[in-house]
């Protein structure tokens, strides 16, 4: 089970990663997250949507109307330059976080610590 506290700080990072190469829309992003994490993490629609709104307000992504197969226009999101640099910042932040936390994690073969 993943702690939602940790994930919360990185939902933006996950979404931005998926937008790096091409614009995408709500369901596609949520499906890719599910696939990439082997269904270990499923992003709720409300989480995804509030992240869209937040990042749009911060200028990290832009929305536009795109084609849709069922005839209804669908909202697509694309990453901005500010979004890309924010993404890189978050990656560095994660590397640092990981490095720090790792120091306090007992590895399975070091049984004497238990």
């Amino acid at each position: 089970m993943i702690s939602s506290d940790i994930i919360r700080g990185y939902t933006d990072t996950m979404i931005l990663y998926l937008l790096l190469n091409e614009p995408s829309y709500g369901y596609e992003i949520s499906r890719k997250i599910k696939e990439l994490t082997d269904e270990k993490y499923i992003m709720k629609e409300t989480t995804l949507y509030s992240a869209f709104k937040r990042m749009e307000a911060n200028g990290y992504i832009e929305s536009f109307s795109g084609e849709e197969t069922y005839g209804k226009p669908r909202t697509y999101y694309k990453i901005t330059e500010a979004g890309k640099s924010y993404y890189r910042e978050k990656c560095e932040e994660w590397e640092l976080t990981k490095e720090v936390i790792e120091k306090f994690i007992v590895k399975e073969n070091n049984h004497e610590y238990y």
């Binding site: 829309y25 709500g26 369901y27 596609e28 949520s30 499906r31 499923i42 709720k44 629609e45 409300t46 989480t47 995804l48 949507y49 509030s50 709104k53 937040r54 209804k72 669908r74 909202t75």
Partner: protein, 319 residues
């Protein structure tokens, strides 16, 4: 698919309809529909697909800040929540009480008939009694029947009192409960529809008694008595409608549809008008009947009042 839309509608119930909120709702629905379609295509049953979509949806709290509706969302949790047990209890009580209320209404509608009968027979010369005495006897029965009818209302409406807030204020219903209510409503639908049809036909045919008497017999006494026929048919039709409409009405209350929609409940002007209105109608009916003694015609106040009420409702809602 409707279930998903209803779920979302219910979740957004009572939120301000700003552009942001409308857009959020549209996009969330699109995401849910996409997910639903894909789950269906991957071989899930309709129920499984709906279950997954709803369980993975999340909650309004997460959207509150993004949509600038933090305050509304926080207040929304203060809104009454009708539980599954409460809803079941309300449906059960409504089912039991509707026929009793119907008897009360039946008695009230029938209340002037004895008076009319006496006046008619007297007019035809069958009774050799002073008219004042007949009126006195007829009124005694009228008051007695109204009292009996009202006692039914009082005795049984007190059992529904605890549910009154459902008719007056906006509340929330969780997904399971709503599904249960929709099932009950669907089960009741055929019986309810046939009851409405029967009653409407009876209402349409009810003036025939008066019309035929007027056409065939040119007699004042007979035409007074013919009103008894009309009232009896109206009373039976109304009894039928109320006693068999209890479940449907309760479902409408629970689903906040029709007369109990959020829109109507929020229409405070109309709430106040309707209270005063019906009291005024009763006053007009009694005042007119007692002062002119024209009981044979005064009942017409009721159907007219009903139509005017419907118009009032539409007019105040337009605003």
């Amino acid at each position: 698919m409707n279930t998903i839309k209803n779920y979302l509608d219910n979740m957004f119930l009572g939120l301000p309809e700003t552009e942001d909120v409308k857009r959020a709702k549209k996009e969330l629905l699109a995401m849910m529909e996409d997910k639903y379609n894909e789950l269906k295509n991957s071989g899930k049953t309709e129920n499984e697909a709906i279950g997954i979509v709803i369980s993975e949806f999340g909650n309004l709290d997460e959207l509150a800040d993004a949509l600038g509706i933090r305050q509304v969302v926080d207040n929304k949790s203060d809104i009454n929540c009708v539980t599954y047990e409460e809803a079941e209890g309300y449906l059960e009580d409504s089912r039991n009480i509707a026929p009793k209320t119907a008897i009360g209404v039946f008695l009230c509608i029938m209340s002037p008939t004895f008076l009319l009968l006496l006046l008619g027979l007297n007019e035809l010369g069958f009774l050799q009694v002073k008219e004042e005495r007949l009126v006195a006897a007829g009124l005694a029965v009228l008051i007695g029947l109204v009292a009996a009818g009202v006692s039914f209302f009082i005795r049984y409406s007190s059992k529904l009192e605890k549910y009154e807030y459902m008719q007056k204020s906006v509340f929330q219903l969780d997904y399971n409960t709503e599904q249960m209510v929709r099932r009950v409503m669907a089960q009741d639908e055929p019986a309810y529809t046939s009851a409405v049809t029967t009653s409407v036909i009876m209402y349409i045919l009810s003036p025939l008694s008066i019309i035929l008497t007027a056409l065939l017999l040119n007699s004042g006494g007979a035409s007074i008595i013919s009103v008894v026929g009309t009232l009896t048919i109206v009373a039976c039709a109304t009894y039928n409608l109320i006693s068999k409409g209890g479940i449907n009405n309760a479902c409408q209350v629970l689903l906040q549809q029709g007369d109990y929609s959020v829109k109507t409940k929020s229409n405070k002007t109309f709430q106040i008008i309707s209270k005063i209105y019906w009291l005024a109608v009763v006053a007009v009916y009694l005042l007119y009947s007692f002062t002119t003694n024209r009981w044979a015609i005064s009942w017409i106040v009721w159907p007219i009042a009903g139509i005017v009420f419907a118009i009032l409702k539409i007019v105040t809602e337009e605003k």
